[in-house]
Symmetry: C2
Subunit: 619 residues, 2 copies
């Protein structure tokens, strides 16, 4: 019999792995109109358990994710909100007692001042439905069998070359027809902690042992072995709907309330609970959901807690933190999510870091594929996200250690006091909220003119702030006007154009931008695909005449904004002050992912010309 020809196909981007990082990537690229495919080796999405915490910054990111429905909208509808954290310590009368409550989120600029908790399957569904609405499906079960990057230097330099060859096996396809050779321009490996893509690239995981349970459970200090149980509780514990850190003399416990009436418990285990006395190794067979609950019950005393109905999901894990040595091979194959960083689940970072990895990558791939940006732009992915992962791991180590320690007492002089714990909890606010992410200077982060908008930190996400639309006095959250639609946002803070000197500066800037040689004008008819331009004026809604703003700053009537209160006088006003912009105005460039790229004085457009020349393709 003749051997059938192997199926061959071309694609711009192949995403391997349909967890949160991969799904985020695929929906963003699909939305941008990029030719993308996503495959996964699992036959279906996660049914229960796994990650479940969405940070304030991630909610902001999903809020500006564009789909037929808001991604955050559904998250907020289906998920639980954690607003409050409660702390319990050993009580002098035995058992535990509450020593305090404090806001769960300590990030004053957070637009959503809470975390959302929802099981990973529900979060994946949001993305899957979004993909479906665009005619995309995850192909599964599909296993990658080989990956090869071209060694042709010219091909590697050409952003449009299909320089990566991946062989895929379609597990459910008939034999002989189950193998496909895919020629991709770019590949994203979002295939989890045991990433096959990472192994093909030969990238090492640096750091301490990782803790993907139960396969890799072996040894390590028993203090760091934890159990996780999802259930609907039957309890008289009055903080069951708050995040709780319980330090008892019978071990630590963390409570994470979830969607509906579900609660997750993280339960610290002891040698006795999990270790085989003869081998000294952690033995998963020693554990069960019931056993985990027995341990939890001791920590909760004098409160009673048991499951209403069945335990929904459980696992055990060992805390460990590792980061991949590299995140990118030749700017052709990238790894993202758990494939490049693993950490403890309790700080609720995993899924957030994963989705934000690909959120960082989507627009860069899109701009390169459209021929607008130079391929070197893709180098900033590793630069920005690996640094973040390292910071995250450092934070996580400290946080997890604090959590695993015993309460300080006469017998445990090295233990942690409640005050120390609460203080650390507060200090880590910027990190646990995700709000503190700060990208270092690079071709796309230029902080030289920070003074022009002194409080809008270049490299951080644009601050949330209500502005008023000039044409109809409607208040808008500025972040909502800057969706993740792969466009750069050009915010022209005009000052008061009623003042002749200011009007002159604004008109000159307009004249420059209308020139065909300017960074805006060079895109001709396409300029509104690459940039979304807004004017932000220092005028009152009662007497602004929005048609006075030069036309290049208002391609549509909706593009002129005001620093003013709304008609109720209750919301809005203060964007100039909040951003640290004076009445002389400024230009702010927000990257497509919502981070401030550069700020320039209103009368120095050359600064912007150099910025965009740094990564836009030569025309």
């Amino acid at each position: 019999m003749p051997v059938p020809a192997m199926k061959e196909s071309d694609v711009d981007v192949l995403v391997i792995g349909a967890g949160p990082a991969g799904l985020m990537c695929a929906q963003g690229l699909a939305r941008a109109g990029v030719n993308v495919r996503i495959v996964d080796k699992r036959p279906g999405k996660v049914a229960a358990g796994q990650a479940d915490g969405i940070q304030p910054r991630t909610i902001e990111v999903l809020q500006v994710g564009i789909c037929s429905y808001g991604l955050a909208e559904r998250l907020l509808k289906e998920g639980n909100q954690m607003h409050m954290a409660a702390f319990y310590d050993p009580s002098p009368e035995g058992g535990i007692h509450r020593t305090g409550r404090t806001p769960d989120i300590n990030a004053p600029t957070a637009r959503f001042p809470f975390e959302v908790t929802l099981h990973q399957g529900a979060i994946e569904s949001i993305f899957l439905d979004c993909l479906r609405s665009m005619g995309h499906e995850v192909e599964r079960p599909v296993v990658p069998e080989s990956l090869e990057i071209s060694d042709n230097r010219d091909a590697l330099k050409d952003p449009q070359a299909r320089a990566v060859k991946v062989v895929l096996k379609h597990v459910d396809a008939p034999e002989g027809k189950d193998t496909e050779v895919v020629h991709a321009k770019y590949v994203v490996g979002a295939d989890g902690a045991h990433s096959w893509v990472r192994k093909q690239l030969g990238f090492a995981m640096e750091g301490e042992q990782t803790g993907t349970a139960p396969a890799s459970l072996s040894d390590g200090p028993a203090d760091y072995v934890w159990g996780v149980v999802d259930m609907i509780p039957d309890t008289d514990f009055p903080d069951i709907r708050n995040r709780c850190a319980i330090h008892s003399n019978n071990g630590s416990c963390m409570v994470i309330p979830r969607e509906g009436d579900v609660v997750r418990l993280y339960i610290q285990l002891t040698d006795e609970d999990v270790r085989d006395v003869t081998t000294g190794r952690v033995d998963t067979q020693k554990c069960s959901a019931e056993k985990l609950l027995e341990v939890a019950k001791k920590s909760f005393h004098p409160y009673r807690i048991k499951a209403k109905g069945d335990i929904l999901w459980w696992t055990i894990y060992i805390i460990g933190q590792r980061v991949a040595s590299k995140f990118s091979a030749h700017e052709r194959v990238f790894i993202a999510g758990d494939a490049c960083h693993t950490h403890s689940p309790k700080a609720g970072q995993g899924m957030n870091a994963s989705m934000n990895d690909t959120h960082n990558l989507i627009w860069k791939l899109t701009h390169v594929l459209r021929g607008w940006a130079d391929i070197s732009l893709l180098k900033t992915y590793e630069l920005e996200r690996r640094k973040y992962a390292q910071d995250l791991i450092a934070f996580d180590k400290e946080f997890a250690s604090l959590f695993s320690k015993k309460p300080k007492s006469e017998e445990n002089p090295d233990g942690v006091t409640q005050e120390e714990f609460v203080e650390a909890f507060r200090t880590f606010g910027g990190f646990t909220s995700g709000i503190g992410i700060h990208y270092a200077p690079s071709t796309i982060v230029d902080a030289a003119h920070q003074a022009s908008a002194s409080k809008l930190i270049i490299g951080q996400r644009v601050l949330p702030q209500t502005v008023i639309r000039a044409a109809d006095a409607r208040p808008y959250e500025l972040q909502d006007l800057l969706p993740a639609d792969t466009r750069f946002k050009l915010l022209v803070f005009t000052g008061d154009i009623g003042a002749p000197e200011q009007k002159r500066k604004v008109d000159e800037l307009a004249k420059h931008l209308e020139r065909k040689e300017s960074f805006l004008g060079r895109f001709g008819e396409q300029k509104n695909d690459v940039f979304d331009v807004f004017a932000v004026c220092l005028s009152r809604k009662e007497d602004v005449v929005y048609t006075d703003v030069p036309e290049v700053f208002r391609p549509h009537w909706s593009k002129v904004l005001l620093d003013d209160v709304d008609t109720t006088g209750k919301v809005g006003a203060g964007v100039y002050e909040k951003f640290g912009i004076g009445s002389e105005g400024a230009i702010v460039v927000v990257r497509p992912d919502g981070y401030v790229g550069i700020v320039a004085p209103l009368d120095d457009v050359s600064v912007l010309e150099s910025y965009f020349a740094g990564f836009f393709a030569k025309s």
Copy 2:
């Protein structure tokens, strides 16, 4: 050939007419699980034009409408928001100039301080999709042929009797199979200004001539003939996205910005424009969309305005206001919407009054059909809604007249000044917003103990206010916790239950309500279907122990609320003060439609017992 037997069927409620009033009715009843059908003579929904304004109160009502998605959510997503009104007057230089801008809505307690504008077809779609998600469809084209109410007095007294016989003709069904006899317990006629149901009942329309154009256009003062045009404008007029009242020496004009870039113009017409000089009658043939725009252009001078592309819809009408003599026949057949009141479109009242008619009726029908309430409850529909319609008509006359008058000048000493107009616009705020609706005392509105919650006006809708949920410190808009789910809401303002005297009062109330004879206890297992109970405590989120509240007030952990700020300190707190409730507490009963039914002192439950005895069925 034998004559085929006519199809006969039973239904609890038959709704005739699938405009906004009928659709609101059908979706509310369907959601409540009532056996309902809805028929309409038109083959499809409205495609363009017609009504388009949704008032702040109607948004609140849709917000608490329960469906798989929020009704208001989609309205807010698809519709335009009008926040600002602008006024133009004749300019000394000729043409018009702006004399001022003022908030479009003047209703300080409005939760949504704006009107939403969206064409009627889109609004109908929201309801149609909601019905569809529950497995319901509008049956169309279906024409009612006869309606007969039983004259059997026993049947009329029995709320479960099918006392109404309606013959329907299914226009598209094959001959011989197109006629159906429906035996209904109740019928709602929501079949428009020319209501067939109203005519069957013989109810007269009282008041001046009505203005459903173009059929009924005949005579009347020409000042009151107006044209309407929907289009996407090409204009340099700087208030094109605000509601504008333009008084020019060439006639009046009103601008209503709509969804997307659409704008509606209301254009005052003159004798010359519309009247046949020989007959003296209004002649629709004299008019066209182009002619209407020509008239508008004169009013807009010196600004230019024309249509971008085609005119989307247009009509002409004569202002007229009428109210039906009765809204109900034997509490078996009701009329709602345009079937019982017509008025000028410019104040944007029509669709709002219509939807609020059936919003008032849904829960009453449901309670009677479930056997919970006495059939006499249905008498309150006409009582409450006819009074409202009369007030509306009185307002509308004044408003429309003001709008049709010429600007005051030397030649027009009887004209209206801009100051008078703006002042009237502000004064009417409570009416145009829909917020001012105030139902008179009746079996379901008992204002005797108003002093216990002095600022929460009995008979008005419950005020919006942020409260904090005790179990998890999550802020909620109180209105959102009181959905239109046909349940009475019992808000127990407990005061500070840390105070022993207060705790004693609360415990006694709890003890009473747990008794089988109480208005709550008599429903046994069903009590949480009839009532939704909340405790609102004067406690701080940092130290409240929600499990201290008696169990009858918290059937679920989510039912205990606090008068406190949220974790950011920015929202919440003040519900006791806003409602005028002292630290001694009170009980507030909110009707299923969101209106305050009664307020009682915390220690006088007898007041509530009499209230519910007044309309609950004897058990």
